[in-house]
């Protein structure tokens, strides 16, 4: 997977997002300037003018929110050997998917653009894996700098990306944080994928779930625990949906479809 100068060519693309993940990568360069010895960045709109279309790894930030995004995604998929979903928006739909659980999309458009709503194309937010095949993902809103560097190294070595399958509590405990749930504050740490070094609990804020659920979450037990911490069912749902609304919406849709049958 190397080019003539022996460097892997990588490109960064952005869709509906705040571009915080791309910025985090720029931040990663503060301590890892030697990253540039290993990869050649051929496209990174946020930081450079050149636009190369010859790349092996595509990092895609942002969610797909309109039809014209799909075409761009197909093109990226066709060119890249490896497509990496970068950050929550691309990985789970992230914050953008909150619009999916609003009562109606038309209302959402009109609320913001009033009678001009029709000028603005939009459809329910989708993670990019709902549009194209994705080889790897780097979760988080924003991504974790260290984890990004680790994934790049692993990919260069031919290893799996190395995103943990265990929950945030593991990292939280190893950092010896005072557990927020035990202090009666809501935290999704027990069911959310680690890799952020439990940054939110470390800074006194319960996990909001930006990295998505672990592969086998015990959701019922989690609900009991949050209930015990004094959260109402609405509050529990709000916690779960903040970054995982796409997923929640999908489940809801499936359930209503089943009911109808």
């Amino acid at each position: 997977m190397t080019s003539t100068n022996n460097k892997v060519k990588v490109a960064f693309f952005d869709f509906a997002s705040c571009e915080g993940c791309q910025l985090t990568i720029i931040d990663a360069l503060q301590t890892h300037l030697d990253l540039l010895e290993m990869v050649e960045i051929v496209q990174f709109r946020e930081a450079m003018t050149e636009k190369g279309e010859d790349y092996q790894i595509a990092f895609v930030e942002g969610s797909c929110t309109r039809e014209c995004d799909e075409e761009r995604l197909f093109k990226i998929r066709k060119q890249a050997d490896l497509v990496v979903a970068l950050g929550a928006c691309a990985h789970t739909g992230g914050i953008n998917a909150l619009k999916n659980i609003q009562p109606s999309l038309q209302d959402v458009r009109e609320y913001v653009y009033a009678d001009k709503a029709d000028w603005y194309e939009t459809y329910p937010t989708r993670p990019i894996s709902a549009v194209i095949d994705v080889n790897a993902f780097i979760p988080g809103c924003p991504i974790d700098r260290g984890e990004f560097v680790k994934v790049v190294k692993n990919v260069l070595l031919g290893k799996r990306p190395g995103i943990p399958d265990y929950p945030v509590c593991v990292e939280c405990k190893l950092k010896e944080n005072v557990c927020l749930l035990l202090e009666g504050k809501p935290c999704l740490g027990p069911v959310i994928r680690a890799g952020c070094d439990a940054i939110c609990p470390t800074y006194g804020e319960g996990c909001e779930g930006c990295r998505g659920l672990i592969p086998n979450p015990n959701e019922n037990a989690m609900k009991d625990v949050l209930d015990e911490a004094g959260l109402s069912i609405e509050e529990i749902m709000a916690r779960f949906t903040m970054f995982n609304a796409y997923n929640a919406h999908q489940i809801q849709e499936r359930e209503t479809a089943e009911e109808r049958q």
Partner: protein
């Protein structure tokens, strides 16, 4: 105390031979001239910077010559990295570790080997040890099963076993290959069916038989059943088990089978001793 038990000894690959699409045989120079292993033992193999994996030593001590062999299936980080290596490349080795097949218990007996798939890798060490001292044993029976012909390992040696009069070797594959690609095992006389289908046709003197088996987890229960049905006493059956291992020296906890550490108490276990452990089989 300055040396880490987790720091591997470095050594080089002497040769690399592709056995099947998934398995490759690596001949490794013994770090100190000789590895000093016994059949059934394993080494922790490092692809430096990638990680470590436990791999059975596939060659027999009787054929060591300052080298030993590893038969590796490509399944993940370390094994993929090994598959990308060429002769002369450096790998790390720790070990040999673990309990071996107690060869003295096999001597003077009829010996029955029942490897399934990659399970031949550790058993081959024992088989060749036995064959190199053939006179010390009575009958030698090998029942070898694989998914399909193209997955049969060590075909040169298998061909030899099939040839020899003093070895009773029977092969079986779950099904025929779906492609026509040539494979060394194409010519073999081969039964179709799972490994247990080979048992009914063989005649053994159970009291005088010592058996060894190794294969994928689901295979044990069925093979053991056949062996017991044949009347082989429980304490004359040995098996080699696979577990996740990170240290190889009885500490990391991954390989625990209840109170046993597979890496130290095993990987070779006597059936009579292990059968009370619910997590074992």
């Amino acid at each position: 105390m300055k040396e880490s038990i987790y720091n591997p000894q470095l050594t080089q690959l002497a040769s690399v031979e592709e056995l099947t699409g998934l398995e490759t045989l690596f001949t490794v120079k013994s770090p100190d001239g000789t590895l000093g292993h016994k059949p059934g033992q394993f080494v922790m193999v490092s692809a430096l910077g990638i990680g470590e994996a436990p791999i059975s030593i596939s060659s027999s001590p009787s054929r060591s010559n300052g080298e030993f062999e590893l038969c590796v299936r490509k399944v993940g980080n370390v094994t993929n990295a090994l598959h990308n290596m060429k002769p002369g490349d450096t790998i790390g080795i720790r070990g040999p570790f673990g309990a071996s097949f107690p060869i003295e218990k096999f001597r003077g007996k009829d010996v029955l080997f029942a490897p399934g798939g990659l399970g031949l890798a550790p058993l081959r060490s024992l088989i060749n040890e036995v064959l190199d001292e053939r006179d010390a044993y009575e009958r030698v029976i090998i029942l070898y099963g694989a998914k399909q012909r193209s997955e049969l390992l060590f075909c040169d040696e298998v061909a030899e076993w099939l040839e020899r009069d003093d070895v009773e070797c029977f092969l079986t594959v779950d099904c025929e290959d779906t492609t026509d690609a040539w494979h060394a095992g194409k010519e073999f006389d081969c039964n179709i069916g799972v490994i247990t289908t080979l048992f009914p046709d063989i005649d053994i003197d159970p009291e005088n038989t010592v058996a060894a088996t190794c294969g994928p987890p689901i295979m044990y229960r069925f093979v053991l059943q056949e062996m017991l049905k044949k009347g082989i006493p429980e304490d004359q059956i040995y098996l080699s088990l696979e577990r996740r291992m990170k240290c190889g020296v009885g500490k990391c906890g991954h390989c625990q089978i209840e109170s046993l550490y597979c890496c130290q108490d095993g990987p070779v276990f006597n059936y009579a001793e292990i059968k009370g452990f619910e997590e074992a089989l």
